[in-house]
Symmetry: C2
Subunit: 391 residues, 2 copies
């Protein structure tokens, strides 16, 4: 699946530079996308105005890069690295290798992602290469619009995700409370950590890697990035947020459900219903040409109409709807576009999460998150998992 890089070509022409330069490991989504290669340590990729990609990789990666990468592959040793290091030291010697490789490609001016390493940029500048940070990260914009093959990669990761979510829900359903309301399963206390582990084993067996998994109960769930730890209690809301990455393709999925074993409080029930309403209101705004801020606004409206605080209405609130409505998902878990107060025009083929939620340490947290593809006249929901609070 070759990406459509015409937007990048246009950017280079407009910026009047010879190429786009990336230095990062394949953990960096732009690196993986442009190079068509994956290696654990940083390597350098140059995309030139003629539409060619060139890689400069360590000798250790050279064999694989020649076979697998999108473009040509060379090694520092092809540019007399050892002699340059001997003459100029490892830092300047390394910079001179890159500068000579660029010159060899006829390149003396480059744009870079905004997170390009400063040391290499300043080193190249001192060797008369013009280096400009591309603050808009054009490749992230290019990546945002997925081919159908890329959508299928997200869909496959989401299918694994739903098996993992089912594992978590099953553990909650099969658990029983003790007299203190602590859940037990198979004669042991049911903790966030136990559920996280079974989620992650399920994902591994489905070919997915994982970052952190959130299984957060009660007041822990009121902090949207708290992973959760310790016992799970009956009658409390438990947020389960899973974002696996396919090992084979590198694409992520993302989904959140909120569960309650026993009887949720009236407030949690009300919050759950409102959050489902906010999710549906946001989804209803999704289509090519819509703006992300309008989608976010639809979710905010539901909460604000119910008298609840939002970050949109009060930038300093620590309770209520305290994050944006969603974000792009692809080779990165958080990428362009944002469904937030920022203006981000949505295009067909963008994959985004829609994930309103409410938080208050006194009450707990509720979040429901689907992952969808923006289509010309609406959206396609890649999420099949049912929404249901009480397990």
């Amino acid at each position: 699946m070759d990406p459509d890089l015409s937007r990048l070509d246009g950017y280079l022409a407009d910026a009047g530079v010879d190429g786009y330069l990336v230095n990062a490991s394949a953990e960096d989504a732009t690196q993986r996308y442009l190079s068509g290669f994956s290696a654990p340590d940083p390597y350098t990729t140059l995309y030139t105005a003629d539409g060619e990609a060139h890689l400069l990789v360590s000798g250790l990666e050279y064999g694989r890069a020649k076979k697998d990468a999108r473009g040509s592959a060379e090694r520092p040793t092809d540019y007399d690295r050892r002699a340059k290091v001997a003459e100029y030291g490892p830092t300047e010697g390394g910079h001179r290798v890159v500068a000579e490789w660029l010159a060899d490609k006829g390149v003396d001016s480059v744009a870079t992602p905004s997170r390009f390493p400063l040391g290499l940029a300043d080193g190249l500048r001192s060797l008369d290469v013009a280096v400009t940070a591309d603050h808009d990260d054009v490749v992230e914009r290019v990546r945002a619009v997925k081919t159908e093959a890329e959508v299928d990669n997200v869909r496959a990761a989401q299918e694994a995700n739903e098996k993992a979510m089912a594992t978590a829900e099953r553990m909650l359903r099969e658990a029983d409370p003790d007299v203190d309301g602590v859940l037990h399963l198979d004669d042991e206390v049911l903790t966030s950590e136990r559920i996280q582990q079974e989620i992650e084993v399920t994902l591994l067996r489905e070919g997915c890697a994982l970052d952190e998994t959130i299984v957060a109960c009660g007041s822990q769930a009121a902090d949207p990035h708290e992973r959760g730890h310790g016992p799970i209690y009956e009658n409390e809301a438990v947020i389960v947020d899973i974002f696996p990455r396919s090992k084979a393709t590198g694409y992520y999925a993302d989904m959140t459900r909120t569960f309650c074993v026993g009887e949720p409080s009236d407030t949690i029930t009300e919050w759950y219903d409102l959050t489902e309403e906010a999710l549906d209101a946001a989804l209803a705004e999704l289509e090519a040409g819509a703006d992300g801020s309008v989608v976010h606004g639809a979710a905010c409206d539901v909460y604000e109409d119910a008298g609840l605080p939002t970050l949109r209405a009060d930038e300093s609130t620590e309770t209520g709807f305290i994050h944006s409505t969603g974000h792009g998902v692809g080779l990165d878990i958080h990428e362009y576009p944002r469904l937030s107060t920022q203006e981000n025009e949505l295009e067909a083929g963008m994959v985004v999460t829609v994930e309103p939620g409410l938080y208050d340490p006194e009450v707990g947290g509720v979040r429901i998150e689907d992952i969808v593809v923006v289509r010309e006249d609406g959206y396609e929901n890649l999420t099949r998992y049912e929404r249901s609070l009480v397990v």
Copy 2:
């Protein structure tokens, strides 16, 4: 466990700058080390000459940062982010938030890691903050020398690693070849992927996350970074290289063993014996005050004396000993120091791998890797796993 940052203090004094500035997610080891905090998206940490750490984190991470981080925590909203974005746009608005936060700490000059993001650096420069890349990455030097608590973190990850290696070895031992020499286990072909999955499930159950795991057989093993795929064959060398990261502490371990089911060829047997000899020769050079290049040289000598090519003798060789002898391990899997042709003086408390190996697509690959702590008068081997080629 608070790190000893006196070397960083000395660096700031020598460089004549007000602080050390990091902008990265906690995946970045220097960020995690300096901030004492972990978040999945980039955040900013400032270490000032008075020994204080300050964090600038998103509202989403603010609650956790206030509780968990080493230093003070503030949010962009504390510096009127929204007004600045409205006036200057998201890029310059964001840079102005950081600049004002720096000014608030009395800082108008900073050093940064060499991989600090160029966009933010140039943005701060245009707002009259002096930003200099620290090409020697002083914090990586500080991180290289571990406290005993950090060594214990590596030791714990290595204990999990040995359980995972035992899983792999057991699967190989219990497998049987078919008439074509393909190994079978439980009535299914035994593949690299099956062994990788059981290694990774074992690690997860031991509280470790994982990057990639290498289980590479035959000619695949001749490419040191090939992860391995497809069936495992009898009479071939299988390289198993596992580098788990403790989820709780963030510290890595690293170990490689080479196994053969059946009868290894004479060449593989000879390579295995030579590699064990190279490993022991390198270990014998390890002690505080020794140089990494001498340790590497001891391994190279063994191979060169046996008439085999090394990268030291021939920078362009693609067979033989084609990588360095080892690297530091800590919050990063590959960190300072290197055991390579570079000069890196070893200090007590450094944790390094020692991992000589031989590679040739016509033969296969052999690598044996231990992880050790440099001590005043030698080293402590954190690896208990036996070395044995034939399973």
